[in-house]
């Protein structure tokens, strides 16, 4: 099985604080991997190290076997690594459709062809397909800033898929989303995973969401990996029960 | 060596005046996120007002200066806060900063159209003449300006650290939210910082105008020097603004003599750019947490 992402010996220290303290894991092609852990366990720091937002103290990130440690976020994006953010990150004064076109535009052609060519034609179609898929049709021409929180979350996720990424990292996609919207989001993610064989890593607090969506789960505590395995295995692990599920 | 000593004293004198302006600048920045692009004009205007009061109302100079001080404190201490900063701040830091640019044009043009486009003599409040120091003829006025400016800064510092009101003001500047919770009347404290800023500007104005003459366009260089002093010293520190003021004053005077009088302004500017690029928190400032 090919490993899309492999993280080896990742460490990130802030002064004396060991936010991430030696984490190893990998993600197989077509897999939905969940990363869970209590607040402050280092999940988000780990994400930011993988994605080039933070420079790791030590460790290596491999994308399809090639080292990509320390690349800029935009360079990683061009290599097919896409992400969503914990807090909402859409472009409020652009319309929903323009948000999606923007999410795809830097992945085709050159800068000059983007200025002089009619590079938009295919992208508009792709954006419209994405709008239909996430059922945002009635909002397509509205400014993203005017959407409800849940709708913006959907748009945020849709943007991550615009460029047909190899790997998508979702940072707390369920946070603050109402149950109806959450079900819609989960269904979309599963459909993309099934139909396109897309690979995800999901960081989440919402246990039900992770356990029902993911095929494999990594449990973190205090900057380290506590356990990993299928949702059932993890649920049964005494250390996990102690540290996280036990309350 | 003689010349160097003279320049040193002159540099410390102008530096102390820049420090007055820079301290006011950092105070209003701290309490209300106001980047006052009109700070230079704040220093330019009181002297013009005093001259206008003397010439138009035929007042003796001391009375004119007091009237000008009162008017300035009212307009640019209270009025500035109430009618510009308060309504603009809710729109954000940038619109407010831009509004102060418009204010700077307004003040400059007002001084030019309302008083004079020419540079005017401004009576010195400190003795003229020179005295000999290590064989160099040092300007008595420079020394006096330095002493008066430093005395003002020390007084301010004593007020802030030794009095209850001053400590409350300082606490408000550092954390308005907490101050509000503790029952401080935050609005009043902020108004106080604006009044202090205006007061420092008046002081700086009366000290610098005898040296460079009173002219509507004086604000450009003074304002720029105050920004540089504030940033070089550390944007949110009174001590920093003081140190920054001296550095800019010295660099400015030495550059005028040893580099080129035409480019004297460029040298402190170069210093500013180097600091912004390589040490943006300034000499004494704290590095603000970088958000990733």
């Amino acid at each position: 099985m090919t490993r899309v992402l492999e993280v080896k010996g990742m460490r990130k220290y802030f002064g004396g604080i060991r936010a991430v303290d030696g984490v190893d894991f990998h993600v197989n092609k077509g897999e939905i991997l969940g990363i869970i852990g209590p607040n402050g366990c280092g999940k988000s720091t780990l994400f930011n190290c993988i994605l080039g937002q933070l420079t790791p103290t030590d460790g290596e990130v491999l994308l399809e076997g090639r080292p990509v440690t320390g690349l800029y976020p935009s360079e990683l994006a061009k290599l097919g690594v896409s992400r969503t953010f914990q807090l909402l990150q859409v472009f409020p004064t652009l319309s929903v459709r323009e948000n999606l076109i923007l999410a795809g535009q830097e992945h085709r052609g050159t800068k000059l062809s983007r200025l002089f060519g009619r590079g938009d034609a295919g992208l508009t179609d792709a954006a419209n397909r994405m709008i239909a898929f996430f059922e945002l049709d009635h909002l397509a021409d509205q400014k993203a800033g005017g959407l409800s929180y849940g709708q913006q979350k959907l748009l945020d996720a849709a943007m991550a898929f615009m460029a047909g990424p190899k790997l998508v990292l979702l940072d707390e996609p369920a946070g603050g989303v109402n149950p109806t919207m959450l079900a819609a989001l989960k269904e979309r993610l599963e459909a993309i995973n099934r139909e396109q064989g897309a690979t995800f890593v999901v960081i989440e607090h919402n246990m039900d969401f992770v356990m029902s969506l993911c095929s494999r789960v990594v449990v973190m505590a205090e900057g380290r990996v506590l356990a990993q395995g299928t949702p059932a295995e993890v649920r049964a692990d005494p250390a996990v029960v102690e540290a996280y599920l036990g309350h | 060596m003689d010349q160097f000593l003279q320049l040193l004293v002159a540099g410390l004198a102008t530096g102390a005046i820049y420090a007055l302006a820079a301290i006011g600048f950092t105070l209003v920045w701290q309490t209300s996120q106001t980047i006052n692009f009109a700070q230079g004009e704040f220093v330019m205007l009181p002297a013009i007002l005093a001259l206008a009061a003397r010439d138009l109302l035929h007042l003796p100079f001391w009375a004119a200066a007091m009237l000008a001080t009162a008017v300035f404190l009212l307009l640019f201490g209270v009025g500035f806060k109430r009618f510009l900063v308060d309504p603009m701040l809710k729109h954000g830091v940038l619109p407010l900063a831009i509004a102060t640019m418009a204010l700077s044009i307004l003040m400059k043009e007002g001084a030019k159209d309302g008083y004079s486009a020419q540079a005017a003599q401004f009576p010195s409040m400190v003795p003229e003449g020179t005295f000999s120091l290590l064989g160099a003829a040092v300007s008595l006025r420079d020394v006096a300006v330095f002493v008066v400016a430093i005395a003002a800064i020390v007084a301010l510092q004593l007020f802030v650290t030794r009095t209850r009101l001053g400590r409350t003001m300082q606490a408000t500047a550092q954390n308005p939210t907490v101050a509000r919770i503790l029952g401080v009347r935050v609005e009043r404290m902020i108004l106080l910082t604006f009044l202090i800023n205006a007061g420092l500007a008046v002081f700086a104005s009366y000290l610098i105008s005898p040296i460079y003459l009173a002219k509507f366009s004086n604000g450009e260089v003074i304002g720029l020097s105050a920004f540089i002093a504030a940033i070089v010293g550390g944007f949110n520190q009174v001590r920093g603004a003081l140190a920054g003021g001296f550095i800019v004053g010295l660099v400015d005077n030495l550059a005028a003599a040893y580099v080129s009088s035409g480019y004297r302004t460029a040298v402190p500017l170069g210093l500013l750019v180097v600091f912004i690029l390589f040490k943006p928190e300034g000499l004494l400032g704290r590095r603000e947490e970088r958000t990733v």
């Binding site: 976020p73 935009s74 994006a77 061009k78 896409s82 992400r83 953010f85 990150q89 859409v90 472009f91 409020p92 004064t93 652009l94 076109i101 923007l102 535009q105 830097e106 800068k111 983007r114 200025l115 590079g119 938009d120 943007m159 460029a163 | 980047i35 692009f37 510009l84 309504p87 603009m88 954000g92 830091v93 940038l94 619109p95 831009i98 509004a99 640019m101 418009a102 204010l103 700077s104 044009i105 307004l106 043009e109 007002g110 159209d113 450009e220 720029l224 920004f227 940033i231 080129s260 035409g262 480019y263 302004t265 460029a266 500017l269 170069g270 500013l272 750019v273 912004i276 690029l277 943006p280």
Partner: protein, 334 residues
Amino acid sequence: MIRRLDPNLVVIAIAAPLLWFIPVGFKAYGLYVVSLWLVMAIAAMGLNLTLGYAGLKSLAQAAFVGIGAYTTAILTKNHGVAWPVAFLVSGALSFGVGVVLGFPALRVKFHHLAFVTLAFAMFVFLVARNEEWLTGGVYGFSNIPRPVIFGLDLSRALPFYRFVLVVTVGLSLAMWWLLRSPWGRAFQALRENWMRAASLGVDIRTYTLLAFAIGSAWGGFAGALYAPLVEFIDPAPFAISASFVMLLTVVVGGSGFFLGPFVGAFLSFVLPELLRATGGWYLLVYASVVLILLVFSPTGILGLVERAREHVAQRRAAEMRAAARPMLEGSEAR
């Protein structure tokens, strides 16, 4: 799907022929004022790209107008270079300097960036004032020639005005094209959320430099027209207060609105000339108007128009909802 015509383009298409004919009866001074309006609108258009669209705070736009004006004056007057060449060189030089000035923008944001650009503007002013061998110092350049292009003599006011108009329309269309291209979208993404933009593959370094450089090039182009328009240049119009005025122009017109620079330049450059007829105090009146306007509408005049339009649209939507409510309640009751 029929593409809806961009209203900005419609305005250009209607305004251009009107502006071609309207000033026919104007005296030389009137033509000068209208020409100045267009030239400054070009410079403001450039700053609107840098500040309004890409969100980079620059206080140096007047310095780029100065670079363009001096370049054109030196090349056409001292070296006999044809104006179109000088025009292109002015733009290219400003573009190059803009790239260099953009580098600090990669490291620092907001007020620090504003101060770096302010320092640069001051430096340009000092060079213009001190380097007499190059710029003529405080005396500047006089008798800057107006160009003859394709055999057309533009030395008289009306032909020169029309020439300015043609260049303005050309540069407006180029800017329009740029802003509706993926580049324009990337610039806006930079302004609204550069971190998210980076995560979507937007190369923020290159786009930041481009936003600076292209905006500066428009400043240079404006300068290339300014020099032959006024026929005399000295350092004063390129001082840092002029860069403040450029910034106010963009903000008052409506930062991030395509036509904002034209509205703003009218207020900053035509209104004072109109007020000049009423005696002194005109800059004072101008600054007061700007201040009052900013307090009431920090998004500028076009921002005010947009808000009014949204307000009307919202009220209409509310009325429609109110009209539809009985039906809705009826269906729920069933």
